[in-house]
Subunit: 642 residues, 2 copies
């Protein structure tokens, strides 16, 4: 046995004994040391860096660590094994993956408009914008020796009289405090409750002079990123917004790796803990401070998430989701409360789960499809949600098909060496001069903010421009030389967008052939999925009458460039519309409007799920789409015409 010491910048050492030959990433995991490892230890992502500061470690060399870095002690944990006593420094994962995954500012005018647009469209569709929650004043007689009715009965009778409802349900969490609040407030109180056609359910009882805030939490749980809003359930107003990286990311970047991890001893709890304790609860904390409310004042929550995220959130056995015939435990469930999952809102809060429709098309898409309004329009529309999984819906008010493909985290800046989310310092748009090869770019943030990386829309622009200028080939290899093109000793080319001296980070902001290759596979997955599904349903790209693009990629996405690289179909630009994080907006709709919630269930019921992996032509389509723009240039007739 050897002693392994994990050192941290801001916390105490963790010591553990490990056997000779044990994998360092595994040792870290079983010791609950958080090391970022989106590829789940396959030496693919290069994120699980640790720095050797004492003792010895047997490590393979990989492309992800330069010679200088190796000399300075940097190693990848996933390719390192214990061979002696060793001390390693672990970079702060929280700041690493949280900042990397920070989402666009939800309070930007564009994002607010999206919520306003939704409300308008929902009303146009004849759907009521209201729920069944309310605050009611309740005044009781003060008990005496001649009137000794117990508190819960006293309270119930007045509520029965006031609401005209026979059945009034007082859950345990209210029962516990009832007596105290009644006496603190002279038997004049406020009841936070919901009333439907069956019964009245009391969520809370408050003193008469207390400010009653009835709030709700809508949350979009992405494989990579989690976004949430707290709203006022009575007015629909957004009280707070927030986002964070999904804490599960250290157990794998994609859903398959996460499921595998969840099957290990204690794995299900570990994954659930990573999303609930490490991600959602801190997010709620922050948002509650922002909105100046107590988390118990959140009385309902809605979740839009893909099928796997839904299962892992609930700690439900997820293996059948990934194994043929790909059966989830549930599409729809009504039986989960915040208290069941340890989510720090009111423990009685019911969790509304946007329904899944298949193993790979989840509630994020049914919620998003609702927001797209595809179901309410006669035009044939395409809805594309760009996330770690890409999901695609096609249809109109008569029918809807959907499918999913695995794009990986590239659209969110993952799997890209200088990738980042569309936050301060991200290059979000770029043009390149064909002659000088010099770039001109826009950076997210205040004027003068220096670039530190590339967000999704920036990567699309850079690749599209490199291709347009003939700097890279249709295969994504560098074919021109110049000041900004560099090759390492293995011959791998890269293009420097910002040299170290101009950048906000300590190194060049660049994109290399591995990055471009990762991105080409991601965009290829999307395009081939669109093509395969359309032709499977006897449709054709030319029949598309509208395209809705959703996802955290940002409103800055240049549709022309996305078409140019063969990511989106070559239809007129004016047909494209970016609708933001439709999954979160859909969760908002389900939370705030009961009729919207019902409509999402209806949409889910009527949507046909197509399992792409069961269609033989999909693989060929994918291979063809892994070029710029495509091996079949005829599919992109307008490219190069401008």
């Amino acid at each position: 046995m050897h002693k392994v010491t994990f050192k941290f910048e801001n916390s105490e050492d963790v010591n553990v004994f490990a056997a000779f030959g044990e994998n360092l990433l595994e040792v870290a995991r079983k010791t609950n040391v958080a090391i970022d490892a989106p590829c789940s230890g396959n030496a693919a992502c290069g994120k699980c860096r640790v720095k050797l500061v004492g003792g010895n470690l047997e490590s393979k060399k990989t492309l992800h660590i330069s010679d200088e870095e190796y000399a300075a002690g940097w190693r990848l944990a996933c390719v390192s094994t214990v061979c002696d006593d060793v001390e390693v420094l672990v970079p702060d994962i929280a700041s690493a993956y949280r900042s990397r995954m920070k989402v666009a500012d939800l309070s930007s005018p564009g994002e607010i408009k999206i919520f306003d647009d939704l409300k308008e469209q929902v009303l146009e569709a004849g759907i009521e914008l209201k729920n069944d929650m309310e605050v009611v004043s309740v005044e009781m007689d003060i008990p005496s020796l001649d009137d000794t009715m117990p508190d819960n009965e006293r309270f119930t009778r007045v509520l029965q009289a006031q609401t005209g409802m026979e059945k009034v349900r007082i859950p345990f969490c209210v029962l516990k405090k009832l007596s105290y609040v009644l006496r603190q407030s002279g038997f004049k109180v406020q009841a936070v409750m919901r009333r439907n056609d069956r019964d009245v359910f009391v969520y809370d009882v408050l003193k008469q002079d207390e400010k009653a805030v009835v709030s709700g939490l809508a949350i979009d749980i992405g494989t990579t990123t989690v976004s949430a809003i707290i709203i006022d359930m009575l007015s629909g107003e957004i009280l707070a917004k927030g986002s964070a990286g999904n804490g599960q990311i250290r157990y794998g970047a994609d859903v398959i790796n996460r499921i595998i991890e969840s099957l290990k001893q204690g794995g299900s709890e570990k994954l659930q803990n990573a999303i609930v304790e490490e991600t959602i609860n801190p997010l709620i904390d922050t948002m509650c401070k922002q909105a100046k409310l107590r988390s118990e004042q959140i009385y309902r929550m809605s979740v839009a998430a893909n099928t796997t995220m839904n299962h892992l959130l609930m700690g439900v056995y997820a293996d059948p989701v990934r194994m043929e015939p790909y059966i989830p435990t549930f599409f729809k469930t009504n039986s989960v409360f915040a208290g069941d999952l340890g989510i720090k809102v009111n423990p009685c809060a019911h969790i509304i789960v946007a329904p899944n429709i298949g193993s790979y098309v989840g509630g994020d898409i049914t919620a998003g499809a609702f927001v797209s309004m595809v179901w309410n329009k006669p035009e044939f529309s395409l809805f594309i949600d760009l996330g770690t999984n890409g999901e695609i819906v096609f249809g109109n008010s008569d029918f809807m098909f959907s499918c999913a493909c695995s794009a990986g985290p590239a659209f969110e800046g993952g799997d890209i060496s200088c990738g980042m989310r569309a936050t301060d310092g991200a290059i979000e748009a770029c043009t390149i001069d064909e002659e000088t090869m010099e770039p001109t770019y826009t950076v997210v943030g205040d004027p003068g903010t220096k670039p530190v990386g590339l967000c999704g829309s920036g990567i699309i622009d850079v690749i599209a421009e490199l291709f347009r200028c003939g700097i890279i080939s249709p295969k994504g290899k560098f074919i021109r030389e110049g000041k900004r093109v560099r090759h390492d000793k293995d011959g791998m080319g890269s293009y420097i967008i910002a040299f170290e001296e101009d950048a906000g980070s300590v190194k060049d902001v660049e994109i290399n052939e591995v990055d471009i290759d990762n991105f080409i596979r991601a965009k290829g997955a999307i395009f081939s999925a669109i093509r395969t599904m359309l032709s499977y349903c006897d449709f054709d790209i030319s029949m598309i009458e509208h395209v809705y693009v959703a996802g955290g990629i940002g409103s800055g996405i240049n549709m022309k460039n996305a078409i140019r690289i063969g990511m989106f179909p070559d239809v007129p630009l004016e047909l494209y519309e970016y609708i933001g994080n439709s999954s979160l907006v859909g969760a908002y709709a389900m939370l705030y409007s009961r009729q919207s919630e019902q409509k999402v269930y209806e949409i889910a019921q009527n949507m046909t799920y197509i399992e792409l992996s069961a269609i033989p032509s999909y693989m060929d389509e994918f291979v063809g789409a892994c070029f710029l723009p495509h091996t079949d240039a005829a599919l992109f007739p307008n490219i190069g015409q401008e």
Copy 2:
């Protein structure tokens, strides 16, 4: 600050700093050191003994510690204050109060007969002996790529078809395991469920070859003692029995002291913890081992407890229960599940709570009154439950009154120096020779078991015999001298029933004037409550046609002696019937039979609660009853006539 070291026989020292003048019992409590203190630190019970083994302690001398004991270092913690660094040895409380409070063996023929009698009487009353739980085999189609319905829907549909019910509820705890069990068992499973006229609720899903045990837990939570049984919900058979001292006892012997304790910072959690974590959960553990079942196989539970115990069990604010006008939070509640309270049975298990009808007449009495069958008979019957509180019901099939009085723990052997429960070594019956003053006694246990103390029925006999033989006066003072009568230096008399050499303990088994006084006050409380209630309702002792006696006092109770000391009314002996722990038997009925449960709610609704403290004559009645047998000898015309 001084260092206080608590030492234990079987565990490590606990060190804490305390201020000069701090009370040692308080220091122990805030450090979570368990010291038995049934009187809650009022220097009344003499149980909070600790032994000074180092340093100094400022202690008052009390009657509870003899000179020899004081010299050996024994002190009462409640009258000791910190004045220096100090080390004290704390006797093992677990064995102290647990063994002291062990209840009579539930598997004795007498106790089993009580359950059998109940079933017979319940059936005679036209009440069904059945509940709505069942085990159903469910067989589903195995999913395929052409049949990808999610597991919960697949399961629900088959159950809908099999039961003919539209609404099938699958709670979160079943949803979590559903997918795994279905696949482990080839989609042929067993569902543990209940079906009523509204819906089907699934408690569990089990593999086809697993033995399905559907069990339930009935529990009687007394202020001093907790008794429980586990039953087979399908057959009604008793699978396991157990009992333990109520772990809350160290926070006070009676409900008032416990409520006061619960109002302190963190008190409510502390009291709840003492009953749930320290008492009920270990009891369940033991019983499950006995019955060879897993605690998750307990799918329903019922609780019969007094109003305060109900409130403290649930962690509900209990102050209004003790303060005029004495209002509980609830009489009846349906909204509590085992998971809410941390009780280690199936977390979905619904808790059926026997309804309270007043602050001092709780579910233990409504459940017990059901068992007495008073409500089903034309005769005017008296039902007396002897516990830490004495509760009394009077009525017949047309009406019922009830009231409560505070008797203290004397009937269960508390507040009596050699008191104990009716377990091995307890003297349960005794006669005394009038001439020689020599006792003849029966000891619980195998032949030859040596006496170690007195249980309730033994105390009644000893006092009755001492009084009959003229050894003590009507005031309970010793008025004869002899070998077995002893006086200490303060003049306090005592009678030795078994000398040290004949006893199973290291000291004499004796009863002293303080014990007799305590017991006289207890019996006086009972008798005066009966008299006060009857005359308040315009009845008279002579109108009593039947008397049911319930409580843990044991079937050995000698009714004649109980009358002789003026505890019970002087009506013909043949009218008396001992019906055991009716509270537990009633909890059993509510658990096993839905119609019994309904009947108990009905009884509670129809029972009139009388608040004795609001009746001016009660105090006079009580004072009069604090004699042997009573100041008004005319009330006991038959005493001395035999």
